[in-house]
């Protein structure tokens, strides 16, 4: 029942998406109002339909319909109920449907929120978002259908998934499912994919508005305002997804780090980079009417990277080009990216004249130039990342030999670029629009510079002795001080108007949330920069096999191996759990840790670290091996990750700042709508 319901509503959702897109293409939206309304209703209908379809899958999983291939692959009878729900995005077919569901949710939100305000753009927003949605629904229907059932051939006994019963077969019902991939049975993995996908689909909205602006020729300020808001929403979720993904890797993958420049990570990072570039350069367009073409390009590239990110992670192209060629999903994605990108570029060239700059750059020492440099650097990082991610594919195509582009490449190429970005983040907000002078800049910067020098001495005394680390800490400290100085200046200016410190601080942020929210984000980045420099440059590790009672020392700490226990769990995994004690230099006990190693019945291992976490550093212990029979010896790997908690703390500040900057301003909305209405009324009266 649920199966038929889900399949039917999926098909109907596909039909309404196609219908909405075709209607917009076929009519003249300015004259045929009723048809536009119809297209809107069809596009909004996709949301309840896909919701129904997704619910059907969850019902199938919860009820244990293992004859459905997806259910068998993503769950089992021992899977807890909450993981049965999240199993919706635990596998390929389900996650594609989940993508579509979020996409239709976003589209409906746009329809409800922006319908009146951006009336003339909306038909084409429907067109672009429905084409994208139809593409993903097509994949869900015809290539990766989550409702496929298993059929056993009566003569050969082969079991194959198919939507409809093939000839000479009978339904095959496995006794139990394979269960969700153990690595995904983690709180981080429950929240991380939805956030990442929300970020991805959130960035489809700005693209829809950009294309709508190009088609209608209404390339004035209207679309860019709307677009910036939606981009900020997508960007917020993408940032959250990236941070949560890092935390998940740190907690579950057991390699002592949080970011490995893995292709899957890169796929999510690239749209974030171009989106960040856009969020900065859009300010130049709003303030000075410049860079209109460039902003269009940034949005188009971001959209292409979003689709490509999904493609890279979903088509299997990364593991092997040959696997990619065999499945139908890869070439389809490839074609879709090529077509949408080319079409967008043609549109852009067509409207090139309307996107002329209204003003010109006045000075090399100006906010505009600083933002341009910011864009150059972000695009540089994005390109290097793209190149490193795709190169193994090129290599395999050209020479039939795979190569690995590992972290050393990214650290060497992106490391310096990112450092310059952070430095620029400290200077740019001090540079005035249009034109600034070194004198003015010097006056604003000397206090932060002096404070930076003082803290550098402190860092040196605290043990940061290498030039690279001093440079890293120095940049981060300088940016922190300049950003704080912006707050101080603002607050002092307001205090001169008679407000006390706290009122001044609150008013400052409340009156210009975008700017001061932005600075909070910058402070978050500063904290993260400290964490990254500390944990990357001063990470220590050691590994040794110990007998109970033996110790292993690392960086002022000593770890004593106490005991090891092995036991099975209900869900079939075999757990090996060690008890260790962490001691400081004087021999005082700091605490006990329980690093463990779980071996799942599928043969997949999972290494869960025991971590003693303080603001100063994480003492991160992994149980990497043990002697199986006597069970009285074990191998441990210890990482000492200094300042790593600043990465998470900085991430939190970052998200708070984004919320401050992005939270919808009720008054502003009302005023805007009132303004639009009154303009309309006047126009009606005049005519």
């Amino acid at each position: 029942m649920a199966l038929n319901l889900g399949l039917t509503s999926l098909f109907l959702a596909f039909l309404s998406a196609v219908y909405a897109a075709v209607v917009v293409l076929a009519i003249n939206p300015r004259k045929q109002e009723a048809w536009v309304e119809s297209a809107r209703n069809a596009s909004m209908l996709t949301f309840p339909l896909i919701t129904l379809s997704a619910l059907s899958i969850i019902i199938l999983i919860v009820q244990g319909h293992y004859e459905v291939a997806y259910v068998a692959n993503a769950s089992s009878s021992t899977t807890p109920w909450y993981l049965k729900i999240t199993a919706l995005w635990g596998g390929q077919a389900g996650s594609l449907l989940f993508w579509s569901w979020l996409m239709s949710a976003f589209t409906s939100a746009v329809m409800l929120r922006n319908w009146k305000r951006d009336r003339s753009l909306m038909p084409y927003v429907i067109l672009v978002s429905m084409i994208t949605l139809a593409f993903f629904l097509y994949l869900s229907l015809f290539i990766e259908n989550p409702f496929e059932r298993l059929w056993q051939n009566l003569s050969t006994g082969d079991v194959k998934p198919a939507l409809f019963q093939p000839a000479n077969t009978q339904l095959f019902i496995p006794r139990d499912g394979n269960g969700l991939n153990p690595l995904l049975r983690h709180i981080g993995m429950i929240i991380h994919p939805p956030m990442l996908y929300l970020g991805f689909v959130g960035m489809v909205v700005p693209f829809s508005f950009a294309i709508a602006a190009l088609i209608t020729g209404r390339t004035d300020d209207e679309w860019i305002r709307t677009t910036r808001r939606w981009m900020l929403v997508g960007w917020l979720f993408l940032s959250l997804g990236l941070i949560l993904g890092g935390r998940w890797a740190y907690d579950v993958l057991g390699w002592g780090g949080y970011w490995g420049w893995d292709p899957v990570e890169n796929a999510a990072l690239m749209p974030w980079l171009t989106g960040t570039a856009f969020l900065h350069s859009v300010m130049i367009q709003e303030k000075r009417g410049m860079l209109k073409v460039w902003n269009m390009i940034l949005i188009i590239v971001t959209y292409a990277l979003v689709i490509m990110g999904t493609f890279l992670t979903r088509s299997g192209v990364l593991s092997s080009v040959h696997a990619f060629a065999q499945s139908a999903i890869g070439p389809l994605f490839f074609g879709f990216i090529a077509i949408t990108f080319t079409a967008s570029m043609i549109l852009l060239f067509w409207r090139w004249d309307r996107l002329k700059s209204e003003t010109q750059l006045d000075s090399l020492l100006s906010r505009e130039a600083a933002f341009l440099l910011n864009n150059l650097l972000f695009m540089g990082v994005a390109f290097a990342t793209l190149w490193g991610t795709l190169f193994p594919i090129f290599s395999e195509l050209a020479t039939n030999q795979k190569i690995t582009v590992g972290p050393p490449f990214y650290n060497q190429v992106n490391g310096p670029l990112l450092a310059v970005i952070v430095l620029l983040m400290g200077i740019a907000p001090l540079v005035a629009w249009r034109k600034s002078s070194f004198k003015a800049l010097g006056r604003l910067m000397w206090i932060p510079a002096v404070l930076t020098l003082v803290s550098l001495v402190a860092f040196y005394l605290l043990g940061a002795r290498t030039p690279a680390s001093l440079l890293g800490y120095g940049i981060a400290a300088f940016v922190g001080f300049t950003t704080l100085s912006e707050y101080v200046r603002g607050v002092m200016a307001r205090m001169r108007l008679g407000e006390n410190v706290f009122v001044a601080l609150i008013n400052l942020a409340a009156r210009n949330r975008r700017r001061y929210g932005g600075y909070i984000i910058h402070l978050g980045v500063v904290a993260m920069a400290f964490g990254v420099v500390g944990s990357y440059m001063f990470q220590q590790e050691t590994q040794a096999s110990l007998k109970p009672g033996q110790t292993l020392a690392l960086g002022g700490f000593t770890m004593r191996f106490d005991s090891l226990a092995q036991f099975p769990l209900d869900d079939g995994r075999q757990v090996s759990r060690a008890e260790v004690t962490v001691l400081d230099q004087a021999g005082n006990t700091l605490g006990q840790l329980f690093p463990r190693h779980d071996l799942f019945d599928s043969g997949q291992p999972m290494t869960i670290p025991g971590v003693r976490s303080t603001l100063g550093e994480d003492f991160y212990v992994l149980l990497v091996g043990w002697e199986p029979i006597a069970a009285n010896g074990a191998t441990f790997k210890i990482y000492l990750n200094p300042l790593i908690n600043l990465v998470w703390l900085g991430g939190l500040i970052f998200i708070v700042g984004t919320l401050v900057a992005a939270w919808p301003d009720a008054d502003e909305e009302k005023r805007y709508i009132a303004e639009s209405v009154s303009t309309l009324e006047r126009a009606v009266k005049a005519s």
Partner: protein
């Protein structure tokens, strides 16, 4: 063919050509001299840029070729796990997806780490062990792509593209400033003054209200 499309293509082409030859409407000798001066400056800039790029590329490739050679000699026999990991860190698991060998938890990788241990005990150098792995499993085991053959492009292309983009950026900024200067809208430098900062801030804040 759609005439609009043809016009668009024509526009693109003419824009590119215009940018390339910097055709300007001015005809006065002063303007011509200025254009020549401009061209000279851009030629010099490109030359300097190219030279810097070459020097940078050379330095980078030298830096990359000088890999650390593991200290040998003394009394080697007990190979510690840390020594093994130091080598394994530079290698990727030949069968798993994108997992460095020093942290890969599979049984196969444990065996590969044992291989490294054996080779180290036999007195093999780090490079020799890496070469051995490449020979056995292909270049995909190297975490850091080589700087020879096709892999060289991994290293060369990003800096080259970023450099070209930087040159374009410099050209754009210079060009834009020329135009502004030509328009001679000499705006007085808006220096931020401590005293009128309060005023400016208030103005900006109230504008956003």
């Amino acid at each position: 063919m759609n005439p609009q499309l043809l016009i668009t293509i024509y526009k693109i082409a003419s824009w590119i050509i215009e940018q390339l030859i910097q055709r300007r409407a001015e005809s006065s000798p002063q303007a011509k001299a200025k254009i020549i001066q401009q061209r000279k400056t851009s030629a010099v800039w490109s030359l300097v840029g190219t030279l810097m790029f070459l020097i940078g590329a050379l330095a980078a490739s030298m830096f990359m070729c000088v890999d650390f050679v593991f200290a040998q000699g003394g009394t080697p026999p007990p190979i510690t796990d840390d020594q093994v990991n130091a080598v394994a860190k530079q290698l990727f698991c030949p069968i798993c997806e994108n997992i460095p060998l020093d942290v890969c938890p599979t049984q196969a990788c444990a065996q590969w780490r044992d291989t490294i241990r054996e080779k180290l005990a036999q007195g093999w150098s780090e490079d020799k062990i890496k070469d051995y792995f490449v020979q056995q499993y292909g270049e995909r085991v190297l975490a850091k792509p080589r700087t020879t053959g096709l892999s060289l492009y991994v290293w060369v292309i990003p800096p080259a593209v970023i450099l070209i983009a930087a040159l374009f950026f410099a050209w754009y900024v210079r060009n834009a400033r020329m135009k502004t200067a030509a328009a001679s809208v000499a705006t007085s430098s808006e220096e931020v003054d401590e005293d009128d900062y309060a005023k400016r801030l208030e103005k900006e804040l109230s504008k956003r209200r």
